[in-house]
């Protein structure tokens, strides 16, 4: 294919900062043709987004682009603002990472689409509105007539991203640039958005640039893959070739980690140990404003969750956003109040404890959080952060002894003593998460709850942190409750896995059995949505993705909460909630048809 829609030659982007001029991308040459998809992969900060923002004149005020960026033969750099505006939206559509912040909050979806058509295609308002409806249908938005009149905050994440794509397509562009379009989304919604992009590419002959940090995400779409690192293009090859035989060590490492996360080794089950933690019919609901003035309704974040965790055992909890997995983690530690049920720790009812006794008990029950930097007080040094728990639980300890204990623990999690005096913002994400682990482990807890501990880290640090947690568990014999939306990591780390959906338990099974033979239809959907870093298999898997999103937890469906998305749903599923049935091999499942399907 000779007609390159976009061709970057020796393209560089620099930012002027107080510390001098900082390069974001250096002498990159890339191109994409009509009907083709170029995948651009790299860790955050690799300069992959800035490249295309630079080409379209969308850099922040202190950014400068140099080199050549030819769109259908015409150089975009140095184009006057008016002519550049005739390119943006008309020739090139862009989709950004976070659809919530990238859609104008006070304008209706229909208005935002129609604006583009009126501006670029000169359509009258009524015609533009009609076309906006067609576009929403084109991107498979449900109830498009209603969506036209809605504001961005009234839509779910997936619908918002579809609306963003509709806006990007509104000017009939020749090129669509999707900048991390699925990073903020759940795995099943991610699969749906990728499937939509695949369909658009196939049916419209659009040139597509897909920017992502995830090799699995581009595997299903990209014809060519470019790998970027520290602002430079280090490898660019046809997808099948690149995935089959990467030339650069960095690409190989990325690929190996992506594969390790997607297809890990099953963990071995441990022997029977005494029950450490038990939750009985635990429910959590939050008051939410309901319509009128001051009226409130209860939003059930978690309903009747029951589980047992043995000493030294690790239990994974998986589900999408809104499934109640983080709520479960926090309710078990009494960090959010539960509205019904019991939490029993080592035979002791935590609800019966006084506040002071509960605070003392917290020593055994520790937690690490999703956002390593957000969970560390920005105004404390690492030494203070790690030592704070000792200060509370062992007040007799001298400052020096506390410091020594903190230092020993930091060494244990693989951090140098030199970091003791750092503040959180001076740490990388991986280092921050290690500090979080050290803060929890310095108290020698018996239970460690991990709430999405690696999902905000890049692939490289993810693997290392998972390895560290596994090692700590082996050595200290603590019980682990590992919450994650990433099934691969859970499989690698956990002996049993609990699947939650809309605050309810769907399936509980030994990890090996769950992944090999999922019983619940929802578990199957989750597994099918994991992107495989394999361009031979992934396109086919994407084509098989079905539409459908989780309903709002404010208004859960009657009977089985999954039935609105379930391909096997029957009338009976709406009538009554399915029982929590024990299945063979230590598992249990909440589906009335699990035997037949």
């Amino acid at each position: 294919m000779a007609d390159r829609v976009l061709r970057l030659s020796d393209f560089s982007v620099r930012f002027a900062t107080a510390a001098g001029s900082v390069p974001a991308a250096t002498e990159v040459s890339l191109s994409v043709a009509a009907g083709e998809c170029l995948g651009v992969v790299g860790e955050s900060g690799a300069g992959k987004s800035q490249l295309f923002l630079g080409a379209l004149g969308l850099l922040a005020a202190n950014g400068r682009a140099a080199g050549r960026a030819q769109l259908q033969g015409r150089d975009l750099l140095g184009l006057p603002a008016r002519e550049l505006d005739a390119v943006r939206g008309r020739r090139v559509g862009m989709v950004f990472q976070d659809p919530m912040t990238s859609l104008t909050p006070h304008l209706r979806i229909g208005t935002q689409i129609a604006q583009v058509r009126m501006r670029h295609l000169g359509e009258p308002a009524a015609e533009a509105r009609r076309r906006a409806l067609e576009l929403l249908r084109r991107v498979h938005v449900n109830d498009p007539e209603q969506r036209l009149l809605q504001y961005p905050h009234e839509l779910s994440g997936g619908m918002r991203q579809r609306a963003m794509i509709a806006i990007a397509l509104a000017g009939n562009p020749q090129l669509l640039i999707a900048d991390e379009p699925t990073t903020a989304l759940d795995v099943t919604v991610q699969a749906q958005i990728l499937a939509l992009l695949q369909e658009l590419k196939r049916e419209t002959g659009l040139a597509l640039i897909l920017i992502s940090h995830d090799l699995g995400a581009v595997a299903g779409l990209a014809d060519t893959v470019a790998v970027m690192r520290q602002g430079r293009l280090i490898e660019c090859a046809p997808a099948t070739e690149l995935f089959a035989s990467p030339r650069q060590a960095y690409t190989r490492a990325l690929l190996e980690e992506a594969r390790a996360l997607a297809a890990p080794v099953p963990a071995q089950a441990s022997g029977e140990a005494p029950v450490a933690l038990e939750a009985r019919a635990l429910s959590v609901s939050y008051p939410v404003p309901a319509g009128g003035w001051g009226r409130r309704a209860a939003l059930a974040a978690l309903s009747e969750a029951s589980l047992t965790l043995h000493a030294g055992e690790s239990l994974g909890v998986v589900g999408e956003s809104g499934s109640g997995k983080s709520t479960l983690a926090r309710a078990l530690l009494k960090l959010v109040p539960h509205t019904a049920g019991r939490v029993v720790w080592m035979g002791r009812d935590l609800d019966a404890l006084s506040r002071a006794r509960l605070r003392a008990q917290r020593r055994d029950l520790q937690i690490i959080f999703q956002d390593p930097l957000g969970s560390l007080d920005p105004r404390m040094r690492v030494a203070e952060l790690v030592g704070e728990g000792l200060r509370v639980h062992e007040p007799s300890l001298s400052a020096a002894a506390r410091r020594a204990a903190a230092q020993a623990m930091l060494a244990r999690v693989g951090l140098e003593a030199g970091l003791m005096e750092r503040y959180p913002h001076e740490l990388s994400g991986g280092q921050g998460q290690r500090v979080g682990i050290a803060r929890a482990m310095v108290l020698a807890p018996k239970l460690l709850v991990c709430d999405e501990p690696v999902s905000s880290l890049d692939v490289h640090s993810q693997a290392q942190v998972v390895e560290l947690i596994a090692a700590l568990k082996r050595e200290t014999g603590l019980a682990l409750l590992f919450v994650s939306h990433n099934l691969g990591i859970v499989q690698r780390l956990c002996e049993r896995v609990l699947v939650l959906y809309l605050g309810r338990m769907m399936e509980l099974a030994p990890a090996g059995a769950l992944f090999a033979a999922p019983r619940h239809p929802y578990t199957r959907e989750l597994l099918a949505a994991i992107p495989l870093p394999d361009p031979r298999l992934q396109p086919g898997r994407l084509s098989a993705v079905r539409a459908g999103e989780a309903p709002s937890p404010r208004d859960p469906p009657s009977g089985c909460v999954y039935r609105t998305r379930c391909p096997f749903a029957q009338a009976a599923c709406a009538a009554a909630r399915p029982a929590w049935e024990a299945a063979s091999g230590q598992g249990a499942v909440a589906c009335r048809r699990w035997r037949e399907i």
Binding site: L335, L376, R379, E388, V392, H393
Partner: protein, 285 residues
């Protein structure tokens, strides 16, 4: 603020890097030095009447450098004494309002729920009350121009906004994971407020405080206009400027000296507050 809090050196550095804030700091330093040391250089006393030199324009040499007022008092010395008093008053009043505001706002924000609702309703009600009227009652009741009443009046006005700002900040902080982490560690509520919440909102509060001080100074001048501020023969910037404004046409120097000091002071404080706010903004580099 805990010892050596992290943003402090960096925030000060960032502040110093801004030309506007740097100038403001330098001018402020000069003004404070003048307020403290300036009167020593002049032979005149602030309340001494010089009957031979009534309403004299400024003259150099051994005379009155900024002129005299209708009673023959030296305006240079009076302006600097006024500056001293205005600075002290506004600093203490801001301090009082900050203390109340931080305590009120952080407790309301951290407690949440019904306690928060009631505490903030109190603030709302006080907001709708014409605070001017309270200050007037207070000042006119006890003794006109009593410094204590002025302090209570000024401080009592300022804390409402501080409490609102602090509460909003606390609410935002409360949802942050490091506060949940502190609870998971086993800290009690009071410890969390003092060790984690207050240090983290000090930056915002300091920037706001720098903007409160000029408001206090202006408010005192406003009270002087009503005859309720600092009373003669004591001098404050407020009553000097007000006195000068009445003689604007016949004896402009009586206005110019004090007004110049007032404007310079307020400009610098406002600039400093803006600079602090920008320097503490995490998105700035």
């Amino acid at each position: 603020m805990p010892e050596g809090s992290p943003d402090r050196p960096r925030a000060w550095q960032r502040l110093w890097r801004r030309a506007g804030a740097r100038t403001a700091l330098l001018v402020l330093g000069i003004l404070v030095a003048l307020a403290v040391l300036g009167p020593w250089f002049s032979p005149w006393q602030p309340q001494a009447l010089d009957w031979s030199q009534l309403a004299q324009p400024p003259q150099l040499g051994h005379g009155h450098w900024l002129g005299t007022d209708r009673l023959g008092r030296d305006l240079y010395v009076r302006t600097l004494y006024g500056l001293r008093l205005s600075l002290a008053l506004s600093l203490i009043a801001s301090g009082v309002s900050l203390l109340i505001g931080i305590a009120w706002g952080s407790i309301a924000g951290f407690a949440g729920g019904r306690i928060d609702g009631w505490m903030m309703r109190v603030v709302d009600v006080l907001y709708a009350l014409p605070y001017l009227f309270i200050v007037i009652i207070l000042t006119s009741l006890v003794a006109r121009g009593s410094l204590w009443v002025l302090l209570v009046g000024l401080g009592g006005v300022g804390w409402l906004t501080t409490a609102r700002i602090v509460r909003a900040q606390t609410l935002a902080l409360r949802g942050r994971e490091f506060i949940v982490a502190a609870r998971a560690t086993g800290l009690a509520g009071g410890q969390i407020i003092t060790r984690h919440i207050v240090p983290n909102l000090m930056g915002t509060v300091l920037a706001y405080a720098a903007l409160t001080i000029p408001q206090m100074i202006l408010f005192e001048s406003f009270l002087s206009f009503l005859g309720l501020g600092v009373q003669e023969p004591h001098a404050s910037l407020g009553n000097l400027v007000y006195g000068g404004a009445q003689e604007m046409e016949s004896a402009p120097w009586m206005l110019l000296g004090p007004a110049a000091v007032l404007v310079a002071l307020l400009l610098c404080l406002n600039r400093l507050g803006d600079g602090l706010r920008d320097a503490l903004d995490p998105r700035e580099y």
